[in-house]
Amino acid sequence: MVLIYTEAQNGQFKKASLEAITYGHKTAQAMGTQCAAVVIGNADNPASLGQYGASEVITINNPNLGHFDSQTFASAIAQVAQSKNAQVVILPHNSSGKSLAGRLGIKLNAGVVSAANTLPTVEGGSFKVKKNVFAGKAIAEYEIKSAVKILTLSGNSVQPETGGSEATISSMDVDVPASKVTIKETKLQQGDTAPLPEAELVVSAGRGMKGPENWGIIEDLAKAIGATTACSRPVSDIGWRPHHEHVGQTGVAIKPNLYIAAGISGAIQHLAGVNSSKCIVVINKDPEAPFFKAADYGVCADLFEVVPKLTEAIKKAKA
């Protein structure tokens, strides 16, 4: 049995959860077993997870699981894993998945590989999986030797695939202590774009922007394609942009389908966080800017002229 931890927001399953089910389904097939999803709390239509490959959905409702706390949630998931004899537990590589994975590793005496980005190879008794290390500058293959294996799945590594059928639903009672953490406030960004770690399209800008008052052209471009905005570190350090936009080795690491960088030189620490993007477009007026070496498409020109032109061209193509 391969067990997937899923999460819903406002009733809707998160994309990271659907990716994890597709990944879990394929892993289960390779191991000759089935894939089950665990849902804690409320979600609309849990049976729909069958579409993505879950043959069974286990729902848990317990008053002590009213808000996310890695301690209580890990306890609940471990109980499901044990009662279902899970050989593999898969979680999304996001803030909750990461904090659960380590705890589950200890509870289930299981080896943990975080941010796996390819399907595992299962041969005989051996279980191996790859992940990026050194901020994307290398790939490591890990072998997990324990009976139970825990993986967190790096976002945007697989696309959710539908085609399965409805899943059977069962609810399970778990025994968890009250949470020792209270949530005082949750502030979510307004707006309809995806949060940066999950975004498929990202428009990013750096010190070449000269000042925060010039960001309008970046926001217009982002809006035209429905992208999330990001920035280089110095830009967030000096307060031109909020710190959650900072991408790179010491900021958020992302792997969107498209990363457009304007006025960013492409320092190695910046590249470390973005070089797993599927397609990179660099706009820089300096032909020697190191970022061009990491780009798929480059435009060597003044960004203040090129960015609005690109926005217009996109609007025209979409019209």
Binding site: G105, K137, A138, I139, G251, G298, V299, K309, K316
Partner: protein, 244 residues
């Protein structure tokens, strides 16, 4: 208040990445090592600030070989009072967490960095918390302690969350929790006299280890686009790259 800060050592951010022994091990030859930035800039500096404000002590802990003493001395120069080095060559997060947990009795607060920038595991903090049966709050960007209560702001996807928990607990530190601090001459001199206790490792299995490494396949040559022809770029993004 007794604070334990977990510090790890990572290659300097511009270090070349190469492998040896048939691509089974990282080649450390000629590589400069630094304290993991999240551990140094955020976890350690905030711990020192909290000690200065509330009294108590800061202990830095590292699981690693004697070569790591340079990095540990830097932590002492930044303001840790003493340090523990668990003498071992760690191969997995689980091994590291078990070593730290074995030394972590009696602390009110245990801080880690949000992740190491080499293996990017982001798992040691959660493992330590589980081993000690403590709450764990990841990606803290702000930490205030009043009496025995910690108030933490943390990053979540698409926003932030403010939570409260009683001590003791484990927190991982992200950008925002503190500002990088350069050790001064006095700190560096004092660090030489501060205790660095070397202790043997406890038995622990490595359940998941890296067995081979490879480098990503190189990017193909960049295609330069005429700045006056953004229609062409849009066409390529739609038809060739298929990302729009």
């Amino acid at each position: 208040m007794k604070i334990l800060v977990c510090i790890s050592k990572t290659p300097e951010t511009t270090a070349k990445i190469a492998f040896k022994d048939g691509n089974t091990a990282y080649d450390e030859n000629g590589v400069q090592f630094i304290m993991n930035p999240y551990d140094e800039w955020y976890a350690l500096v905030r711990a020192v600030e909290l000690k200065e404000a509330n009294g108590g002590s800061v202990t830095a802990i590292n699981v690693g070989p004697a070569a790591n003493d340079v990095v540990i001395r830097k932590a002492l120069a930044i303001g840790a009072d003493d340090a523990i080095r668990v003498d071992a060559d760690p191969q997995s997060a689980m091994f590291v967490a078990k070593q730290i947990a074995a030394q972590a009795q009696g602390y009110d607060l245990i801080l880690t960095g949000k992740e190491t920038i080499d293996y990017n595991g982001s798992s040691v903090g959660a493992m330590v918390a589980e081993l000690l049966d403590l709450p764990y709050i990841s990606y803290g960007t702000n930490l205030v302690i009043a009496g025995t209560t910690a108030t933490i702001t943390r990053d979540i996807e698409g926003g932030e969350e403010i939570s409260e928990a009683g001590l003791p607990l484990v927190i991982s530190a992200a950008k925002g929790m503190a500002e990088q601090k350069i050790p001064n001459m006095r700190g560096i001199m004092m660090a030489k006299r501060k205790p660095l206790n070397v202790v043997p490792a406890v038995a622990a299995d490595d359940l998941a280890v890296a067995t081979s490494f490879s480098l990503p396949s190189g990017k193909s040559e960049v295609k330069m686009i005429d700045p006056d022809n953004m229609d062409e770029l849009v066409r390529l993004l739609q038809e060739e790259a298929k990302v729009l």
